[in-house]
């Protein structure tokens, strides 16, 4: 029965990995480039929300309710994403393929270090998801199996965010433009779509999702610790994106849930030291046998 619990917990937490994966894959889909600084900008957003809450609050208590903090984090994530877009994509030379990749890696390292300086490398408490509303709610089905209230809330929020994104993509002209640029960049230009504006907007949307994901991870774990969060989640996000297929949103969703469940099951079976090893093994299996991922794009672009 422990396996069921581990899988369910993992799936619920995997929703956050899915959000991060969606962010990576969105940007790859539209610009054919990987934004290595994505998770960093997202967590910077979470730290900003924390900073504001600490300033507003009195003596250690959080001055803002959790959902407001999520909102602040999402907005901050969007802002940082836009800055990353400007620095690493808009103003880097187009003909030098590696320029933007190098720039994003540099930005990742810089933001990581900035967070260390700002927090002195210490773990920062983050309010729990339902703090102030419920006190550690658990849906207990039996002695062997229970669903954590905060994990469930996290999952629901992630689902809502994803649905929101899909609505934007498929029901608005902005989303249409984004999909057009992703499919045929030149033709989109010739249809009058401002590609750089579309890309910037895509970045901001991805950043908003990322900021939300960062805040939720902080809320569920209870602390934000830079060394556990920035680079490890960049790597996990990339793994999810690769497993799901670069450029595919359904792939990122499935990939995220998969990695979450996988990780948690192996945590339960083999313990913390080996857990990451098995996630890497999963990645390796995919790279070896299905490198395009679950839903990898088949069409070749011009």
């Amino acid at each position: 029965m422990d396996y069921v619990q581990a899988i369910v917990d993992g799936l619920l937490f995997g929703a956050v990995y899915a959000l991060i994966g969606i962010g990576f894959t969105l940007i790859f889909g539209v610009m054919n480039k990987i934004n290595m600084a994505y998770a960093a900008a997202s967590f910077a957003g979470a730290y900003v929300s924390l900073g504001i809450a600490q300033v507003v609050g009195l003596s250690g208590d959080f001055g803002l309710p959790p959902f407001v903090m999520f909102l602040v984090s999402a907005v901050a994530g969007g802002v940082f994403a836009y800055i990353v877009y400007l620095i690493c994509f808009r103003f880097t030379p187009d003909h030098y393929e590696l320029a933007s990749l190098m720039a994003t890696i540099g930005t990742l390292l810089m933001v990581d270090e900035m967070v260390v300086q700002a927090t002195n490398g210490e773990p920062q408490n983050y309010p729990e998801v339902l703090q102030g509303i419920f006190d550690n709610p658990m849906l207990e089905f039996s002695e062997e199996f229970a669903i954590r209230g905060d994990l469930l809330t996290l999952f629901i929020v992630a689902v809502i965010a994803t649905l929101g994104l899909l609505w934007v993509l498929f029901r608005t002209k902005l989303g249409l433009a984004t999909r057009a640029v992703a499919q045929q960049r030149m033709a989109a230009q010739l249809c009058g779509i401002r590609v750089d504006r579309t890309n910037a907007t895509t970045f901001v949307i991805a950043g908003v999702l990322g900021g939300l994901a960062g805040a939720m991870i902080g809320a569920v774990v209870g602390t934000l610790l830079q060394s556990l969060v920035v680079i490890p989640l960049t790597i996990k996000g990339l793994i999810v994106t690769v497993i799901g297929g670069l450029g595919s949103i359904p792939g990122a969703i499935v990939g995220g849930l998969m990695v979450g469940a996988f990780e948690n099951v192996f945590l339960a079976i083999r313990g913390v030291t080996e857990r990451d090893m098995y996630v890497m093994l999963l990645l390796f299996v995919f790279l070896a046998f299905r490198p395009q991922g679950l839903f990898g794009r088949v069409a070749v672009r011009d």
Binding site: T172, R179, Q184, C191, G192
Partner: protein, 249 residues
Amino acid sequence: MLEIKTLSKHFGGVRAVDELDFTVRQGEIFGLIGPNGSGKSTTVNLVTGIFPPTAGEIIFDGRDITTAQPHVTLDAGIARTFQNIRLFNNMTVWENLWVAQNSAEDKKATNLLSRWMGGSRKAKSQVEEYLEFSALADKRDELAGNLAFGEQRRLEVARALAAKPKMVLLDEPAAGMNREEVRALDERLRALKARGITVLLVEHVMELVMEVTDRIAVLNFGQKIAEGTPSEIQNNQAVKDAYLGTSGD
């Protein structure tokens, strides 16, 4: 309408377009022909601003668009189709047209949301019109990638139209079409002319070119070797040499 003056494009040592000179008059159907590699597609790319020329000028409707980028040329009123079809394959026929629907009305929309989100009913009804024009109304919800070849070509032309251009550049629209489809294309080109849209037609299918164009320019090795009416071109020795000298179409 369109003036090309001593236009040149060099790619390294290769002179894709070499001091090209011709003028397309408003409302006419102008043909651009020549053997493979003579610089026809490059010329179209230069006009629409995909890349800038090495030398020369491009004047459209009195405006200098020599170094203008694609969205600027589109604003100026030029639309184009591609040699290898570049439809948005994962979108429906309707959506493909809707993307191109960039009417002046939309641009002036004071409500930002409307610009990004909805689009007016008028704009949407215009898409219907284009669907009718290219006889694709019954395929409106089909994914563009699933259409038959001829239908895809029609969609491409329709998409170019949706931008409400003053001039359309068609890059080998008849390629791979059978007799019937070519005839249908012929009719549609005339319909465009009737609406007052200027057409620059890059083509290899000679019957179509000779039938439908008002004037023709012939390119070889990036240079213009002849210009005139279809009958003049047919009897031009230099043109015959060019086509016989190379492997032709």
